[in-house]
């Protein structure tokens, strides 16, 4: 056993993820950029407000008028 990260497995995982997304060509162009994209894309939103509710309505169809509108 070792505590060293298995870089081969990590690279393979990135490649598999990219292939699953149909991004084989983009991976081949720059594997490091793909690894950075995976890191950025899978990064958490970060800490949410204390009163954040997972059952709140998302702003999917964003409407400024419903967001405190009025001059």
């Amino acid at each position: 056993m070792t505590d060293k990260p298995d870089t081969d497995s990590a690279a393979q995982w990135i490649r598999t993820l990219a292939q699953a997304r149909g991004l084989d060509r983009a991976y081949a162009l720059n594997p490091e950029a793909m690894a950075a994209a995976v890191a950025r894309g899978t990064a958490s939103l970060g800490p949410l407000p204390a009163d954040f509710s997972p059952v709140s309505e998302p702003a999917v169809a964003f409407d400024a008028a419903k967001s405190g509108g009025g001059a």
Binding site: L29, A36, G68
Partner: protein, 474 residues
């Protein structure tokens, strides 16, 4: 060089209406200036000389007949090359779009045409409004007008540069995470992101549909209000367009700020992140100017800048990837590397994270609305840093994380960038004036009072000329 180069839209419109300025002469003067400067600044991707002269002649004939259309009748402008103009390529500054031909004008272009404005040409941008300056693209990147070695801001880079150097009195830009206000900041001009849905995005190549805004860049606040008035209005062709009559954006311009309550969102740039000393000193001085003019300026608190930015970035990345997925799969080599690096993270955002970001967005909108309830407007910085070298891709990438513009794309509320002075090195600093949804008249009122009191908008960069090196196509 032309004396007409720094004529404002308001001045030109008045002179044209009074038949003291010929739209044709004005247009020809700006065409000559473009020809003399563009090999240096690279603001234009295409010059529409034939169309411009035809539109200017038509405007002149109408004015002579007493048929006046609007304050922009006979006044030239240019557009970021992300807006469709019938018969022309909408290149988005990308190899992927070479050969494209737009079938019809974007709604904003239609509105400007119907107002009698004269289209000078199409302007440089960051590839698909998200990449960055790079030699990998088919056309050169626009340069900072105050120092050619520096980044002019983006993504509406050509719009900021053309307005600053006097090759267009006004320009159209788009703003998904700050892309009107960033070049306005770096180029020392005025850039407005109005309330979401105020200006139609029909015929504009999308970046992230729930964050995309169209906005004008100009040299003065008054010009900005005039140009926004022309392009604003409900459009059934844009699903996000707001079904309400536009405000009168110039109505309150001269009302001053005496008695107004203005919030100062200082924790964004003092605690959450730390600004360059030149930027923070300039906004402190700007707050003092507003106080001297009679406003009450007091600190307010919102969620952290990082929370707003993370929310906006997640939505931005997911929506932008959806637009570009097929091309990234089939022809990724045709994007510049910097553009791919900005678009690919969207492929890996879990669906739940996108939904959570939109839930967070609703909460942040409510928070901002509550904070603004007892205020007329608020101010904060635009950029934390001064522009870096245009060839320093790593630092440029960091500047997009170190800015205070994305919060107002998340809230969809109006935000204008105005100059707040110049550093010892001669570079412009800037702040944002922000307001409640649809409170553009108040935002313009505060910005105008500040700009009138300081006159930073009247400073123009010394412009360099060169023989034209490239062929500009119409």
């Amino acid at each position: 060089m032309s004396d007409l180069a720094h004529l404002t839209i308001a001045e030109a419109g008045r002179l044209i209406r009074a038949r003291k300025l010929s739209p044709v002469e004005f247009t020809r003067a700006l065409m000559a200036r473009i020809a003399a400067t563009d090999a240096v600044y690279h603001a234009y991707l295409a010059v529409t000389e034939e169309l411009a002269i035809a539109q200017a002649k038509a405007a002149e004939a109408e004015i002579m007949r007493g048929e006046w259309r609007s304050p922009m009748h006979g006044v030239p402008y240019a557009t970021k090359d992300i807006f469709d103009v019938a018969g022309m390529a909408t290149t988005c500054h990308s190899k992927l779009r070479i050969g494209h031909r737009a079938a019809a004008d974007a709604t904003a272009i239609v509105k400007l045409r119907e107002a009698g404005a004269v289209l000078l040409g199409k302007l440089a941008l960051h590839e698909f409004a998200t990449g960055g300056p790079t030699r990998e693209l088919p056309w050169p990147a626009a340069c900072n007008p105050w120092n050619l070695d520096l980044h002019p801001g983006g993504s509406s880079s050509g719009s900021g540069v053309a307005v600053a150097i006097g090759t267009a009195p006004g320009a159209l830009g788009t703003d998904t995470g700050g892309s009107v206000r960033n070049p306005a900041t770096c180029c020392g001009v005025v850039g407005m992101k109005p309330t979401y849905g105020t200006v139609s995005r029909a015929g504009v190549f999308p970046l992230a549909f729930s964050l995309d805004h169209v906005g004008p860049l100009t040299r003065t606040v008054e010009d900005n209000a005039i140009m926004l008035q022309v392009i604003a209005g409900y459009d059934p062709a844009d699903p996000a367009s707001v079904r309400r009559p536009p405000s009168d954006f110039t109505a309150e311009l001269s009302a001053g700020v005496k008695g107004l309550r203005i919030g100062l969102i200082a924790h964004f740039y003092e605690e959450d992140m730390v600004a360059a000393p030149e930027q923070s000193a300039a906004i402190a001085a700007a707050a003092d100017v507003l106080r001297r003019l009679g406003a009450e300026v007091k600190s307010i608190r919102l969620s952290s800048l990082q929370r707003y930015t993370a929310c906006g970035r997640t939505i931005h990345n997911a929506e932008a990837y959806a637009v570009h997925e097929r091309d990234l799969q089939e022809r990724p080599q045709d994007y510049a590397g910097i553009t791919r690096s900005k678009l690919l993270p969207g492929a890996f955002i879990p669906a739940a994270e996108y939904v959570k970001a939109q839930q967070l967005r609703a909460a942040l909108c409510a928070e901002f609305a509550a904070a603004m309830r007892d205020l007329d407007a608020a101010i904060t910085l635009s950029s934390l840093d001064m522009p870096c070298r245009i060839d320093d891709a790593e630092t440029i990438a960091k500047t997009y994380e170190r800015q205070m513009r994305m919060p107002f794309n998340v809230t969809g509320t109006p935000a204008i960038a105005v100059p707040t002075g110049f550093t010892a090195a001669g570079l412009p600093t800037a702040m944002q004036v922000v307001g409640r949804a649809f409170a553009e008249p108040m935002v313009y009122r505060v910005a105008q009072a500040y700009c009138e009191a300081t006159a930073w908008c009247e400073r123009h960069p010394p412009v360099k000329t060169a023989e034209r090196e490239k062929s500009l196509v119409g």
